[in-house]
């Protein structure tokens, strides 16, 4: 039987505002299938976002949804999760939202290891505001604020996540939706801060400026630039230049914040009682 997406969508809010050929829908579908697989009640799930195309997701999905300020989704999600550690809080964010304006929150969410799942839809561009260069725009690629090619080097979101202490990190592409679903599902099951980076497509704002305006062509470009982790091990840095490594990149058991804070409460109450 076909998957019943409509059960998880606010159909009265359709049509959505994403462009034809956009990769966000593939990620959202993977997320919904992964939620379904977890068997979570819709009442027990919160989807939190910042600002940007990806961050419009909460409006369309039938959970407790929170569309916050630019870059700050993780901070709101932190409050929500600490207030209700028994519930499931998912953050969905774009590359600009998560890695530029939200970069500091991203680092500290990784470090803190609260049991949240962050899905970053990385399409290498600020789509909503009109195709400006983002922190993941490839070196030399064109953007509306990089008409002669991007001068900055792109940030590797997954590598930063690992370095900052995220305990589960996986990267997939929107060309492989079921692999994304698996990573998101594993991220949900993981006790701790999980980051799933979905390499995505923006044919309108990124593709058109970079000779990749055909959505299928751009999808192929994304797929071809992804290198599975096993294969990457055998490749030289020169061969990996401009590519990104896909797969489950990091999976570590580490003290989870809300569980540890429960111990803090016990210690505090013992100390108060002993006085």
């Amino acid at each position: 039987m076909a998957f019943n997406y409509e059960y998880y969508l606010r159909m009265d809010k359709m049509p959505h505002m994403w462009c034809p050929g956009c990769g966000i829908g593939i990620v959202v579908k993977a997320m919904l299938r992964a939620i379904d697989k977890m068997g979570w009640s819709k009442d027990d799930v919160a989807v939190v976002s910042g600002i940007g195309c990806t961050s419009r997701t909460p409006g369309y999905v039938d959970f407790n949804t929170l569309h916050t300020t630019h870059g700050r989704a993780l901070t709101f999600a932190t409050g929500l999760k600490l207030a209700r550690p028994d519930k499931h809080v998912i953050v969905i964010s774009g590359d600009g939202d998560a890695a530029a304006i939200g970069g500091n929150h991203f680092l500290h969410a990784c470090r803190r290891n609260i049991d949240l799942t962050l899905i970053v839809v990385n399409n290498y561009i600020y789509g909503m505001t009109g195709g400006q260069a983002s922190p993941t725009t490839p070196f030399g690629a064109r953007a509306s604020t990089a008409p002669y090619g991007a001068v900055d080097s792109p940030l590797d979101i997954s590598r930063v996540a690992i370095a900052a202490g995220a305990s589960y990190v996986a990267r997939g592409t929107v060309a492989q939706g079921f692999m994304l679903e698996k990573f998101i599902y594993n991220g949900f099951k993981h006790k701790g801060f999980a980051v799933i980076e979905a390499m995505s497509t923006c044919p309108i704002q990124y593709g058109r400026r970079n000779k990749l305006s055909d959505p299928v062509q751009l999808l192929k470009w994304v797929k071809e630039h992804g290198v599975p982790a096993k294969k990457a091990e055998k490749m030289s840095p020169e061969e990996l230049e401009g590519k990104f490594i896909t797969g489950e990149l990091h999976n570590q058991e580490r003290v989870e914040y809300t569980e540890e804070y429960e111990l803090v409460r016990q210690r505090a109450q013992e100390a108060a009682g002993a006085r």
């Binding site: 606010r10 009442d43 409050g79």
Partner: protein, 375 residues
């Protein structure tokens, strides 16, 4: 156990009052002169089953308390100076999304890093207009220990009752001053209204039953959307001009149609006053002493002291302008509260400032001199 006078620091008293008002979540970032609030919360909140978290910055602290409040937990943060500037972004979110939160700002000198360890009253206007765009907010400026305690409880009550962020304005003097105080137990605690309709009939911004729609906590079966964009009654973004006009007018009205409930002020020896003072917070205390000093010298001075600073008690100031010829406004800035006083007085009395910005309070004899210079 609490029936005893204890020595309280102003900042600690805010924290203790918050906990007694039901606050169970605090997110903060170290900043002088408000850090004692975070330290107290880190110590006390886990004892009562609450949660303290030190966030990576001021912006994050503000975001976290909004998130926790949406889950139904009374939440607050505390800050000062540059930190209050950083709060403004998410403070605006709490305004438009109508999320109850409490923000303590212990005023220090500014702008920028300014005078971290010295008092000022320079954030009068920022408390009202700090975040961009039209918005309506409550600010409470206590002057005495009892007002700090009751004002903090009141801040939570008003936040919950009106679904609005409430700012508590102290300054470095009040935040760090120690005084004897006995914690009272005769105070009311108000919790936000919860929906009395089934989820399918619930809209978080439905104005059909009043100006303050009930707010369902997340994860309680009422699945809805919250956004910082202008939104329709379901919380979904809209650009419909009529809906936005109606919603913004409601947000204003929910406070300004309830001024009798929201406004709080003190009048000191105003009945027969011939010269008026308008001052708040620590300078309200200085002004009160100055009134007594003036009266000792036969000058009929009186003080109007707003405790609710925003919305401003403008009718009371208008009445004062009918009564006296001169109104002096002592404040630790070069003229902020006076702008609001002048607006209300509207030329019906002579309004003059008594100002000081170097990090020292305006002492009662200085205010007395200012009074005598106008007699």
């Amino acid at each position: 156990m609490d029936k005893k006078i204890q020595l309280w620091e102003g900042n600690h008293l805010v924290a203790e009052a918050a906990i007694r008002a039901g606050c169970r979540f605090f997110a903060g970032y170290p900043i002088t002169p408000s850090s004692e609030v975070a330290e107290y919360m880190a110590w006390k909140l886990p004892q009562v089953g609450g949660t303290f978290i030190q966030m990576e910055d001021e912006i994050a602290s503000m975001g976290a308390i909004i998130g926790a409040s949406l889950a139904g937990v009374k939440s607050m943060t505390a800050t000062s100076g540059p930190g209050f500037s950083l709060k403004q972004e998410n403070l605006g979110f709490a305004c438009i999304a109508e999320i109850p939160v409490v923000i303590l700002n212990v005023m220090r000198g500014g702008p920028s890093t300014g005078l971290p360890t010295h008092p000022s009253q320079m954030d009068v206007m920022q408390a009202r207009w700090g975040t961009h765009g039209d918005h309506w907010i409550i600010a409470i400026a206590p002057a005495y220990m009892d007002e700090i305690f009751r004002g903090t409880v009141r801040a939570f009550n008003l936040a919950e009752k009106y679904r609005v962020p409430v700012i508590i304005l102290l300054d470095e003097i009040l935040g760090h001053m120690h005084e004897g105080y006995e914690i009272p137990d005769d105070f009311e605690i108000i919790d936000r209204a919860k929906p009395d309709v089934p989820p399918e009939e619930y809209f978080p911004y439905d104005d059909s039953k009043g100006d303050v729609p009930p707010l369902a906590p997340f994860f309680t079966g009422y699945r809805y959307n919250v956004t910082g964009l202008n939104h329709d009654k379901s919380g979904f973004p809209t650009t419909n001009p009529e809906l936005i006009q109606r919603d913004m007018e409601r947000q204003r009205r929910k406070l300004y149609a309830n001024l009798d409930d929201i406004l709080w002020y003190d009048e000191y020896k105003l009945d027969d006053a011939e010269i008026g003072l308008v001052a708040f917070g620590s300078m309200g205390r200085s002004a009160q002493v100055a009134v007594d000093l003036a009266r000792e010298q036969g000058i009929k001075a009186g003080l109007f002291r707003p405790i609710t600073l925003w919305p401003f008690p403008e009718e009371k100031v208008q009445q004062l302008a009918e009564q006296v010829d001169t109104i002096l406004v002592p404040e630790m800035n070069l003229g902020q509260l006076i702008l609001e006083v002048e607006r209300c007085v509207h030329g019906k009395a002579n309004v003059e400032g008594v100002n000081k910005v170097g990090g020292l309070p305006i002492e009662p004899p200085e205010i007395l001199e200012a009074i005598k210079a106008r007699i």
